[in-house]
């Protein structure tokens, strides 16, 4: 699936949430979206998924088989069969058990029960024996397990475009390792376009060959990440405020030191003043 973002603008009051002139994500790309809080990552995902109205511009999808070309996401729903997404808990129907939820989604995407079960087998190590076959409603699961249910629900029907917002959140280290592997394999084996966002630079760099750096709704940099080459660039960018703060602190310390030494050079006069007082 090819995603074209064209002159996309979205503001919430005075806050710019998206301001992207042109950006294309090609078929088979695996893109990691990084940025500080409020950068507009989730907004961009919502705009791509037609869950939010853009002030200007649009997002279009094209499939490789030509099923649709430059289809504006706002004017058709055809693309929905070919995408899978998990943004937050509001994607989960929490009064169902995970098995019921997966069965429901499977039927929505025209999958047979056997196909759903077969697909779920693939995720069994990720579930760690805590999700399938339990008589427990989704709302009663921990955040980590809800995250797992959400991720698998997005991948269940093997979509051509997979969008995951902060997939590593709430997951334990083992599950983080598994999901990284699952995503990379999924992208490689199916040729699907994968779009994830994360605050974890290490995970993003490890798994995404292409990284978009987003700030205030603007894609500042589109970084080709070959063998983790983006790591230094991202570290430098995100460390910059820390370095600036450290530099400011150092400058302040030098100033204070200078002032102290100046003061210590005139002890007599100050003492004299105090005595006078």
């Amino acid at each position: 699936m090819i995603i074209s973002i064209n002159n996309l603008h979205k503001k919430f009051g005075n806050v710019i949430a998206a301001n992207i002139d042109n950006y294309v994500i090609n078929h088979g790309d695996m893109v990691g979206l990084v940025g500080n809080n409020g950068a507009g990552k989730t907004t961009l995902f919502r705009l791509i998924l037609d869950l939010l109205k853009a002030d200007e511009g649009n997002v279009t999808f094209s499939t490789q088989d030509g099923l649709f070309t430059d289809a504006d996401v706002t004017s058709t729903e055809e693309w929905k069969h070919h995408t899978g997404a998990f943004i937050d808990e509001s994607f989960l129907i929490d009064y169902l058990t995970p098995d019921e939820y997966f069965a429901f989604l499977g039927r929505m995407y025209g999958m047979k029960k056997e196909a759903v079960n077969e697909r779920l087998e693939h995720f069994r190590p990720f579930f760690n024996g805590e999700i399938l076959g339990e008589k427990k409603l989704i709302r009663d699961y921990s955040m980590g397990n809800k995250q797992k249910i959400g991720i698998v629900s997005a991948m269940l029907h093997s979509p051509e475009l997979l969008i995951l917002d902060e997939p590593f959140n709430f997951l334990d280290p083992s599950s983080q390792a598994i999901i990284k592997h699952l995503l990379a394999t999924y992208n490689r084996e199916t040729g699907a376009t994968v779009l994830i966002s994360s605050h974890n630079l290490d995970h993003t760099v490890e798994v995404c060959p292409r990284i978009a750096l987003l700030e205030h709704g603007v894609i500042l940099r589109d970084i080709a990440n070959i063998n983790g080459s983006a790591k230094d660039e991202l570290d430098t960018y995100f460390d910059a405020p820390v370095q600036a703060a450290e530099a400011a602190e150092a400058a302040e310390a030098i100033l204070e030191k200078n002032e102290d030494s100046e003061n210590s050079e005139i002890p007599e006069s100050s003492e004299t003043t105090e005595n006078k007082e």
Binding site: L51, E78, T83, S90, L92, L96, M108, S153
Partner: protein, 501 residues
Amino acid sequence: MNNRFITLLKDIRQQRKLSAKRHPMYQNNKFGKYFMYLFALIWVGYLVLFGFLLPSLFREEMPGMEPYHVLNGGMWYIFMIDFCMRFMGQKLPASEVKPYAVLPVRKRDVLDCHLLLNGLDTYNLIWLCLLLPFGCMTLWKFFGLGGLLGFILGYLILIIANGYWHSICRTLMNEHILWVLLPIAVYGGIIALMATTKWPNHIGMEWGEGFIQWEPLAFLAAIAVLALLFWLCRVMQLKIVDKEIARTKTTKLKRVREYKFLDRFGEIGEYLRLEIKLLTRNKVPKVQFRTGLILMIMFSVFLAFTDVYDDNFMRYFIAIYNFSVLGVMVLSQCMMFEGNYLDGLMSRKESILTLLKAKYYLQCAICLLPLLVMIAPVIKGKLDVLDVLAAFFITTGFVFFIMFQMAVYNKSTMNLNEKVMGRNSTSNWFQTLLIMCGFFLPVILIMGLNAIFKDGRVSVWVTLVIGIAFTLAHPIWLRNVYKRFMKRRYVNMAGFRASRP
């Protein structure tokens, strides 16, 4: 009380004020805010009106007694109404302690603050709107200002005590719904005793007279009741606080029902399954359904076995009400429950249209329930089969057509498991208007046609035909609703997101 406690009391009072002021119902829904003001104003108006009317009414009905004796004898009714009114807004202190659990303040102090503030709540003064005019008109001439003040003060103490009694019952009800029988038994028992032995009337009369005469025993008794209920409430809330803090709301499923028979209906069957689970696994829709069912049965029994609703208007109204009540309850909140997971639904093609269809078919199926309930009035000759059929089809056709419009305009998420009363209230003016139209337009149509045609059957036949036409046209109007929903989707989704718990 030390300074620390007073500071805490002030802070909690301020937070309670902000919590009420910033309630999503008021922030997202100006109508809700004005509706509540209007409701409060009407209620106050009623109380003042009754305060002025009751003296003369009591004099007429019971000429041998002074009006204040009559009111004192029936004081239990005031407490009963007050008890019910408190469901609208009174908070349970235990549930308010959680945010303070890890702060360096004693849970006991926080709880005491909430209990005290409940006692000092201005709501407790609302009954003055009735008692003041009533007292001025009936007590002043005999007992002067002193008598009036004693009367007001005594009632005020008992009303505050009634508030703590309400908190005790609500806490128990939260533990198990069957505790609802406790207040029913208490108030029901009092009413039964009033009808048989009259001794609750005598107690009320003596107690009220004691207040008016400033008898220490009367006030001591009232203060003892207040202290006892406060203490009971406090003990109970303290026990519940730790439970509340550690609470993990887990739904125990003994058996996961699959409703396999729905498989044959394809995608609609899947959404039907979803709707059934929505209704059966979540507290709010479950309570609504039960309430609707009780109302329906109650009205049918009244219609069948009494003559209070024998006039034409009420007969037709009850027939239509019984068929519509469950559907109207659910559909007036159409999409509001789904607001909890709408983003997920919207990321799938035409899922909303299928969902709407499933909702419609389920509500039609539920209409078979009143069909059974209405057998009693039919057997008793209060309604005939044609009346019932007309009510059935006008509901599945016209009433549902009206109520499904809410799918386009509702944009507040409704918590699936928060209590029904009070804090989950999300009604808006359009919802109220459509509910009124759903319930009353068919009856007005029937009454109008009855006025035009001498033969009463004409109106029923016309209703039946209109109902069948709307029922058969459901694929057309459901698609229309879907298209309009999709046009408004961004506004609605933003609203659902903003009001999500």
